[in-house]
């Protein structure tokens, strides 16, 4: 087995990250529906393996760019759940002091160059972070998370062209969850596999089971290694699925209109990333007790995060006028 080379410690770390994403997102969904969160939220339940396996292949110094569905990517890159949850509540203790919210959480000290509200915006940004490393001769790699929808944006092709032409250390990770907002990708996309688009830009394109964290991790490690050696970018396509809607609570405005077959949702739930992991590694590698311990610890951390966010103060209204320009 290829994963024989992955330490049990690393495997358990990845499981903990996936559990954290699942429980964070589930709680966010629930408290949003209770009316406790301002704005709107996009959760990534069902897509934990691509975020986790991708980010697990990076060092702290490496960069990621993320999307409107970015909570999982941020957690996987080391984001802490307390300031993340506080940001979702619009509180002063949030990563962005309440100025960004769900779609714009960033932590530059962790190499998290931000979630982004514009589909396809992260592709040039990640390409630029990789360009920065190349121009200054440092070793960082940029991992760009984006969705199947973004692969139809001009920025996708422009970025892949630039990254390939200049052999930039960037890994493009498409999380293909089959739907862009409320439209099936197959209805609006010229290719069955987005990875095929890599050929047009002379880089490797790899289709992955995006719900298998080990497969994603190993493929990303290879792509990162290739990037660090100066051999250029790779396009990874993780086939995955979002269990929830495009936005939490969309049924309120969609009504009875449905854009996804119920049996499709059920079939993908059987391919749950966490279940996939457990079926493979329990009990041979980890005991049921070890797994349950992780689940309980994560549950406690999410409880604490919600409590922290609720107890935190809002920013002073006048803070709306701060943080415009850097004076340094």
């Amino acid at each position: 087995m290829a994963d024989a080379t992955i330490s049990t410690e690393k495997l358990l770390d990845m499981y903990r990250t996936m559990q954290t994403i699942r429980q964070f997102e589930s709680r966010v969904r629930d408290i949003f529906k209770e009316g406790k969160l301002p704005g709107f939220v996009h959760v990534s339940i069902g897509e934990e393996a691509s975020a986790t396996g991708g980010a697990a292949a990076l060092t702290v110094k490496d960069y990621i760019t993320s999307t409107h569905r970015g909570h999982g990517h941020l957690i996987a890159k080391g984001g802490e759940v307390k300031p993340m949850m506080a940001e979702l509540f619009g509180k002063k203790t949030g990563y962005c002091k309440g100025k960004g919210g769900s779609m714009h959480i960033a932590n530059f000290s962790l190499g998290i160059l931000g979630a982004n509200g514009i589909v396809g915006a992260g592709l040039p940004l990640a390409t630029g972070a990789a360009l920065a490393a190349k121009v200054r001769g440092s070793s960082e790699v940029a991992l760009c998370f984006f969705g199947d929808g973004a692969s139809n944006e001009g920025t996708f092709h422009e970025s892949l062209n630039i990254a390939s032409s200049w052999k930039l250390p960037v890994v493009f990770m498409c999380e293909n969850n089959l739907y862009g907002e409320f439209t099936a990708g197959k209805d609006v996309t010229s290719v069955k596999d987005i990875a095929d688009r890599a050929r047009g830009h002379d880089m490797p394109g790899v289709v992955l089971n995006g719900n298998d964290v080990v497969e994603v991790y190993e493929a990303t490690c290879q792509a990162v290694e290739r990037a660090r050696k100066g051999q250029g970018p790779t396009l990874l396509e993780c086939k995955t699925y979002r269990w929830e809607g495009h936005v939490v609570g969309e049924e309120a405005f969609l009504g009875k209109k449905s854009y996804r077959p119920a049996d499709e949702i059920e079939a993908w739930k059987k391919r749950c990333p966490l279940l996939t992991f457990e079926q493979r590694f329990v009990p041979d590698t980890f005991s049921q007790a070890e797994i349950e311990k992780v689940q309980a610890e994560v549950a406690q951390s999410i409880d604490e995060a919600v409590q922290f966010a609720q107890d935190s103060p809002y920013p002073e209204p006048e803070e709306a006028l701060e943080d415009m320009f850097s004076e340094a």
């Binding site: 960004g100 530059f108 915006a121 040039p124 972070a129 630039i162 943080d323």
Partner: protein, 322 residues
């Protein structure tokens, strides 16, 4: 003091700053060739690794510039013609301008965008537009419009050293204009207007290339016994309101001249500032002279008809003074 032209001023500012800070690099279309001369010779000294020739792919390379700035570099991004900014509107307005604020002040985005701006003679609507007014409505950007070689060099150096996204608009009609420019490190801070000519009867606030037209008009008005003061804001964001208001307090009449369009233009903003804060000092309504709200046309007589120039400034001032 030696004289250099506008293009040489750009070239000197770029080379001097590239020499000072290894984090600075350039990216733009055709900058190896340096079609207008502003980037001539830079690859010889700094190499093709720091002077990057971009594909015709504005969203891609402008966005890459923003990403590089987020990752600790200080890129200078060249957009060949200002209308091409529309191809990377998101990267400038949604990303560069907002990322610092949205991240609660975590990020500095030290990026300079340079672009040729304004009508240069039958280049038609997609290569002649003055677009800075559009960007003035996007919080998070600084906007610089130099009117001559000395300001060009000093302001571009400040823009490059600034820790924020700065857009510098360079009017090619000024390309061969020569002026005395100090040899030494002549930085001009952003946000300081300059009175280019003192006068007592009327204030002409002129932007960019229009400063040269206003100065010509002022000379002509002098023949008629009218003393015009010419104020050049030099940077539209931040805007030096104090210098403009002080001039209006002295002359009590003001004409704002701009090559951008009338509606919601830079002239409208300056007029609004004067109305808000200098109303008591006005003896006549504020007047604006701009390009009317049509795209810049191709045919020479059409183009001449829409663009403000020294003669139109003279007429507007006479009308204003009654």
């Amino acid at each position: 003091m030696r004289e250099i032209n506008f293009i040489q001023a750009i070239n000197e500012a770029l080379a001097e700053e590239l020499r000072l800070d290894p984090k600075i690099f350039m990216i733009g279309i055709d900058i190896w060739v340096g079609a207008f001369g502003a980037t001539s010779g830079l690859t010889d000294e700094f190499g093709k690794e720091r002077i990057l020739n971009a594909p015709i792919s504005e969203a891609g390379y402008a966005g890459a510039g923003v990403g590089a700035a987020m990752a600790g570099m200080r890129p200078i991004v060249e957009i060949e013609f200002a209308s091409f900014f529309y191809c990377c509107w998101d990267q400038v307005c949604n990303q560069a301008a907002k990322l610092r604020y949205m991240s609660g002040g975590q990020a500095a985005i030290p990026i300079t965008f340079r672009s040729v701006c304004g009508a240069i003679g039958s280049a038609a609507a997609q290569h002649s537009e003055t677009v800075y007014s559009q960007f003035m409505s996007v919080p998070g950007l600084k906007i610089v419009v130099p009117s001559g070689p000395r300001d060009m060099k000093g302001l571009l150096k400040s823009a490059i050293r600034d820790n924020n996204p700065v857009l510098v608009f360079e009017h090619l009609k000024l390309g061969r204009t020569k002026e005395e420019v100090p040899d030494e490190d002549s930085v001009i801070p952003l946000g300081q207007a300059e009175v280019k000519r003192e006068g007592t009867d009327v204030t002409i606030v002129a932007i960019g290339f229009m400063v040269s037209q206003a100065l010509k008009a002022a000379k002509s008005l002098e023949q008629d016994g009218i003393s015009a003061e010419v104020v050049d804001p030099r940077t539209l964001i931040p805007l030096d309101e104090e210098t403009i208001l002080a001039s209006v307090a002295k002359t009590h009449k003001v004409l704002v001249v701009d090559e951008a369009h009338l509606r919601c233009g830079a002239a409208a903003e300056i007029a609004a500032v004067i109305a808000d804060k200098g109303f008591d000092n006005l003896d006549a309504p504020i007047k604006r002279l701009t390009t009317p709200d049509v795209p810049v046309p191709f045919s020479p007589p059409l183009e001449k008809f829409v663009l403000p120039d020294d003669k139109k400034i003279v007429s507007a001032v006479k009308e204003l003074l009654g």
